[in-house]
Structures are given as structure tokens and as C-alpha cells.
Symmetry: C2
Subunit: 299 residues, 2 copies
Amino acid sequence: MRDELNGVPSFDGLKTFLAVCRRMSITGAGEALHLTQSAVSRQIQSLERSLGVQLFRRQHRGIKLTSAGQSLRDLVGPWSDELARFCATHGTARLAPVTVTASVGVTALWLLPRLAAFNNAHPDIDLRIAAHNRVVDLESEDVDLAVRYSQGAPAGDAILMFGDTILPVAAPELKSAFKSSSGILEHPLIEFDDRARPWLTWNEWLSILELPTTPPPRLLRFNHYDQVIQAALEGQGIALGRLPLVRPLIQQGRLVAPAWKPRKSDFGYWLLTRKRLRPEAETVMEWLMQEANAEQNYE
Amino acid sequence: MRDELNGVPSFDGLKTFLAVCRRMSITGAGEALHLTQSAVSRQIQSLERSLGVQLFRRQHRGIKLTSAGQSLRDLVGPWSDELARFCATHGTARLAPVTVTASVGVTALWLLPRLAAFNNAHPDIDLRIAAHNRVVDLESEDVDLAVRYSQGAPAGDAILMFGDTILPVAAPELKSAFKSSSGILEHPLIEFDDRARPWLTWNEWLSILELPTTPPPRLLRFNHYDQVIQAALEGQGIALGRLPLVRPLIQQGRLVAPAWKPRKSDFGYWLLTRKRLRPEAETVMEWLMQEANAEQNYE
DNA sequence: CGTTCGCATGACGACTACGCATGCATGCTG
DNA sequence: CAGCATGCATGCGTAGTCGTCATGCGAACG
């Protein structure tokens, strides 16, 4: 009973009404509005009650606009657009930026290549990437989302994006190295040298491949994974490729991998979210997970 | 941060915005919307924040629309009307009726004559009068407002509408009776006979006027006050007039009163409200009090 | 028939938005 | 020029709204 004296119903209900009209579904509108079906159902009911007209005919499955509903949609529909236009013209308000953090390697090899597409699809969302190798605290550092490479689920609200698979990669000119496993030893090995956490190292790989570790192989060390890959691209040696990060490079033929022994790692790429996500951040999250699923389908 | 993904602000804020535009005052809009100035101020602020534009320029006294504010008003202004029109056309929703109870006398002599004006001013409010002489319980009997004639404040939320003044009245053809106080005894005395509560009676008046009560005067008794007045109008005798109820009749010359001794009564007309009033009922209350104030000004 | 899909609804809970009291800046008045 | 009136902003505490969760119900699908 929040109506004004005149019989004008709550304007806010109209926004929901339009969303329902667009998808012709209460459940669907709920998703679009980041609400539950329940909430939308109630809003529509309250709107109908407040103006005393059935707007939708509820059917076995789905809903249908009544004639009154159609009139209302035709009347109100344009308003939303006009208002949006007004906001674009006069409004200077930007949504607060959504910040995603990831390691330098993930940022360079996975995030950045996808960024343009996102900005295209959501020009209104100001997405910022904070590339750090250190683990940041989402709550305290004003970061909304984090992509973490970790063994098992990290602490906090985390969803697995995709697992990891490790395989040696090198520039095409070195592909002869992969004819036999021992060929690897003929080239420098490029090592990802993250002091903080002992990732999969060449040492382990050599033992898995039953190759001698003496004399010690020549190692090139980098502390950012993208530099590891960069060096490999430049033909400086053989790197341990993390498949989700290097797959496009392999597909483009800019890196080659041996036919043998891709190894599923027990590490995975996890998406961490802060406790309470703003709707924009929610959108970013959904997009990340969608991209992640595309990746997963390769596994 | 209830906005949708697009930059459209809360529609509800717009309604408030329009109200402010109409009266060019935040305080004023508050009254119109039955809200406090505080609430309106916040809503406007939140609207401004959500679309990132100053809508009003705050000045020493009052406010001024900025150019953005003007644009918005011009854009949104018509919507409210169109929506109201839509509601009128398609909407069948009526506000729940507002019920006012009063004694039969007050209803006939004070309420009914004013009712047409109210219905004119508020065609959307369905005002119903329940005329009972018995005291009804507002909460339990689904009654919003009650006008009560009582000595001192009645129990509950009550405001004094106006006091009472008693004076003898009669039809013009009996006006000779008022030349001297004893002239009264030459005519039948019309008595309001409310068994439940002993109102001011002729017996008391005769003793006040120092007139003999023996032989007992001829009394006409009615149990509804409007019948008392009706009888007086028909020249059947002299009634004790309650000034607020009979003033119009005196002004029209349909009743006459003696020049002497109008007596302020310690009874008064009180407006009782139920605990939680709906906005419509609030409107009715305001109207009643306004009418009451007009009456008070005669006192 | 059991399952699924889509909407409605009862109970509960968090968060919003309101009211109250107050502050501040300005203008008006005697 | 002091004191009061007016109009908007704001801190704080709270009532009530609105959303979520869980569940129910009816129809269609395989």
C-alpha cells in the first residue's frame, strides 16, 4: 500500500513487469534481474493487485499477456529506453569498477586475450585486472573476484573453473626434441620459478620421464609464467606448458607439444568471489565461468 | 544499489522527484506524499547519486531545478499522467473504503452537508458513513475514524475538533418566545433523550435560567438529535441547539436563537483514529480536521 | 506414471528506507 | 543585531518491506 493518492502503482514494479514481458517468463525475468522467480512472481502479483487488472494469464506452462498487459507494455515499454538514453546523455554515473585479480601468467595468457570480447559485450561495466602473484585478500583489498591456481579448493567461496594439464611445449623449430623423451635434454629447460609455491618443476618431470638429472640440465628461470611461455615462443628452450594457458598457442602452431604424456595436474584454476557480490561483479563472474566452461570442454 | 544492469535508476525515485518538482520544495513534497522531509531528501539524493547528476541546486531557501533536472522532469513528467490515465481506463482497483462513524445527529447535521464537497475533491476515495449512537470499537469493527461527542478526551487516539456551545433554538415563528426567558415556558420543549448518556437536558437549563420546573413543562422527546432539530424546524417547540450543528440553520434564518446566554458546554467533538491509518483514511482525517478548524474559528 | 517444468505461497530474515531529533545556513523581524 | 523562522542535510535506531528458501501444485512430456 505504498501507492500515492492517485491510483498510480509503484513505478518499480513496472521495471520488473517489462523484464517479464521481454522474456515472457517469470523465472527468466528473475535470472535477468538477478532475483529469484519467487520475488518476481510477488512483484507482478502486487502490481496486478495495485491496479486491479490481471496482466498475465497464467497457463499450464508459461504465461501470456492479457490485453491490459499488452496495453501496459506498449505504454511503459518505451519509457525504460528513454530513461536509459537520458542517463547516457546526462548521467555521469559509472558503475563502480569491478576488479579481478589473477597471477601475472593467467592474466597475460588467459584473461587478457578474452578481455576485448567482454568489454564489447558489456561496455557499461568497468572491468579492471590486478595482476599479482601474491595472494590478495578479497574483502580487505576491495577486489571482487580472483582467479587462483591452487591444489584443491582454496579457502573461501571458490568454484573450480577448470583443471590443469601439464605438457612440455616448445617453439616449432625445436619440435625435433619431442621425437623421443630424451630429446628434451638437448635443449635448455625453461623453469617457472615461483619461490612462494613449488609448482610442478622440471625436476619432477625428468624423474617422471625417467631421464637422468645429472648432469644438471641447463635451466632458464623466470618468475612470471608468461615470461616462461614468451621464452618458449622465442625458441629459447622447452617449457612446461599449462594446457589451458597455452592451448591457443598450440592451436595456432606457435608452440608444439609432444604427442606423448600430457599429465593431468592436481592443480586447478579456481574462481574466488568476495562474500557479497554486486550485480556487475556477478555479471563478470558469470562471464568468467562461461569462458571457463568452454575451456573445460576440451578436457 | 538496486539498479538493473543498464544504468536505469529506481523508477520509484522518479515519482518522488516529480512530487518535488511540482511543489518545488522537498518539505512540500514530503507532505504531499505523506512522508517526512527527511525521507524525500534522501530519495532525491539517492536518485542524483544513482544517475550521477545534480537535479536540484540547493539554495539558502528552497531549491532550483538544474538543467539536467529540467530535462528529466520534461521527460518523465508526462509518464505519471499517462500511467494514471491507464489505471483509470484499465484498472478496476478501488481503494478500500474509508469508514467514518458518528452519531446519527452529527451525521445528519454536520457530516452529510459536507459530504458532497469531499466526494468532489476526492473522487477516488470511497468514503462511507456509519451512523450509530452506540460507541463502536475502531480496531475490531473495521472503522477508520469516529467523531465522538464527549466530556473531556475519550480513551484512545483522539483530537479535539471543536468545543460545544448550547443555546435554545426554535423556528422563526416562535421567536417571540425569546423576548424574555420565561417566554420559553409557553411552548413545548424538545428534549434529546439519549438513555445511554445524560446530555444537557432542559431540566438543567430551566434551573440555570431560574425558571420554575413545576408545573412540569410539556416535553417532546426524541432519541436522535437530528429529529430534535427537525421538530424545532417544523415549529413544534424549542430545542437545545448545539451550536456547531445548528449554526448553518441559524445563519439561513431557519432557526432563531435568543440574544442571551449562549453557554459553552464542557462537552466537545472529538475525532478518534484507529491505531494505524491508511493513507486514504489519513486524507479523510485531514479533511475532517480542516472542516473542524473552520468551525472552531467561530468560537 | 514418474519426472520435469513453471508459477504460487508460507515462513523467516536481512536490509532498506523511514521517522525523529538535530545541525547548519540563511533570511526575516522587532 | 539578537532571536526566531524556514528549508535542507544527516546520525541513529527501528519497523516493515521485499527477497530467499523450501515446498506445493498442476500440466505436459517421454
